[in-house]
């Protein structure tokens, strides 16, 4: 029994010393991790908007960082997912520098055709959920999460259709003048065409017209669209708008006319 007690005393002492050394070196190594961020960049190819966040992670400690994963989730105010991006680095060795570029992609066309079309016409707040997950020293899984909100500027904000006025053209047609205005609150240059169709009470298309627009950010577009309508103008019920831009096509947006 004496030998057993002695062996246990030795084992306990040795394990305590190893654990103390491990704790001190892990704490010291964790303080030697230095992340540095470069200037984020935004680019667009076709209808896909890409934001890149380059960062350099210097792991100056003794232990490896493994399963490093950055995830960003962008949601609208209703909780609908707009974009979900993930960047995975299998291992960052101790004493090594690693460059990581996290990219977030957003397809405007996909947003427009999905349940996110309200983002085209209404300014909103977007919720960004960012999470960094990693395993430090192959023993400690760590998760750092950040929640923030950012403003979203709609490319066709405050879309307004004014009161229509009619001017007779001939016995069968009238000229309908439709005042249209909107503001570009997004950071994109919006160029394209608005095509519109006029429908009567029985939902027949009785006339159509179109107008082009070139609108830089934070500018207002105002025009009067002239549409040739056949039949009685008092039968006009609604207008169907179709937007065609370099980034997306969207339509119809139905607005009742009074």
């Amino acid at each position: 029994m004496k030998q057993t007690v002695r062996a246990l005393t030795w084992a306990t002492s040795v394990f305590w010393i190893i654990l103390l050394l491990f704790t001190v070196t892990v704490a010291y190594s964790a303080l030697q991790i230095r992340p540095s961020f470069s200037e984020p960049s935004v680019s667009n190819s076709g209808d896909v908007l890409t934001a890149s966040l380059p960062m350099i992670l210097y792991n100056g400690g003794f232990y490896d960082i493994s399963k490093f994963n950055i995830t960003t989730l962008i949601k609208d105010h209703r909780g609908q997912t707009i974009s979900c991006s993930s960047t995975f680095v299998p291992i960052i060795n101790g004493g090594a520098n690693t460059t990581i570029t996290h990219t977030m992609s957003l397809s405007i066309e996909q947003a427009a055709i999905g349940n996110l079309s309200h983002l085209l016409f209404n300014d909103s707040e977007l919720n960004v959920e960012a999470a960094v997950r990693l395993v430090y020293a192959r023993a400690f899984p760590i998760e750092i999460s950040l929640n923030l909100s950012m403003p979203w500027g709609a490319p066709f904000a405050n879309l307004t259709v004014g009161n229509i006025s009619t001017r007779p053209l001939n016995l069968t047609h009238v000229r309908v003048l439709l005042p249209l205005s909107f503001e570009n609150h997004s950071f994109l240059e919006m160029n394209g065409t608005v095509r519109l169709e006029i429908a009567d009470q029985s939902n027949h298309i009785v006339g159509n017209g179109s107008t082009g627009f070139m609108l830089s950010p934070e500018n207002r577009f105002e025009t009067v669209v002239e549409v040739l309508v056949s039949g009685d103008p008092s039968n006009i019920r609604e207008a169907h708008f179709y937007f065609q831009t370099a980034f997306f096509d969207y339509g119809p947006l139905v607005i009742a006319l009074v």
Binding site: V5, A11, F15, L19, F140, P141, I144, L146, N147, L148
Partner: protein
């Protein structure tokens, strides 16, 4: 009795420096650049030091008695509970307010580390139990009547 009290006092002072003054100095140093992270640790260090110093002094004062071993077993059990509570069962969560309206949540899974601490403490507990058994068997052996060699008839 007096050397035992002196020994307990010296041990208590040594443990005070090792388990209170030194860790507190380190915690205050790191608190300087991340006060939100390490502010609560001063309380934990104080509690840990109080437990360790109390048991060190008490076991020294009761050395050579059954109470010394009972205190060693108690210390091992209390430390296991302390580690589990101090590390929140191994999953530590921290919520930091870095900017107005922006919160950073940190979750650290320290279950492996907690397992190491508990395993070493269980080893210490096993040692204490064996020491108690040995102490009791030695005591019983001493109380038994000594066998005398029989004289040849």
């Amino acid at each position: 009795m007096l050397p035992r009290v002196t020994k307990a006092l010296v041990k208590g002072l040594l443990y005070l420096v090792l388990f209170y003054a030194l860790p507190m100095f380190l915690v205050r140093q790191v608190s300087g650049f991340a006060p939100q992270l390490f502010a609560d640790y001063e309380q934990l260090v104080t509690l840990f030091a109080a437990v360790v110093i109390f048991f060190a002094v008490a076991t020294e004062l009761t050395s050579g008695t059954i109470y010394q071993h009972a205190l060693n077993i108690g210390k091992a059990l209390i430390l296991i509970i302390f580690f589990v509570l101090a590390l929140d069962g191994g999953i530590m969560k921290l919520d930091l307010n870095i900017m107005e309206g922006q919160r950073v949540g940190i979750v650290a899974d320290l279950r492996v580390y907690l397992m190491m601490l508990v395993a070493i403490d269980l080893l210490g507990l096993a040692k204490s139990v064996l020491q108690t058994v040995k102490f009791l068997s030695d005591k019983t052996e001493k109380q038994m009547p000594q066998l005398q060699p029989q004289e040849d008839l």
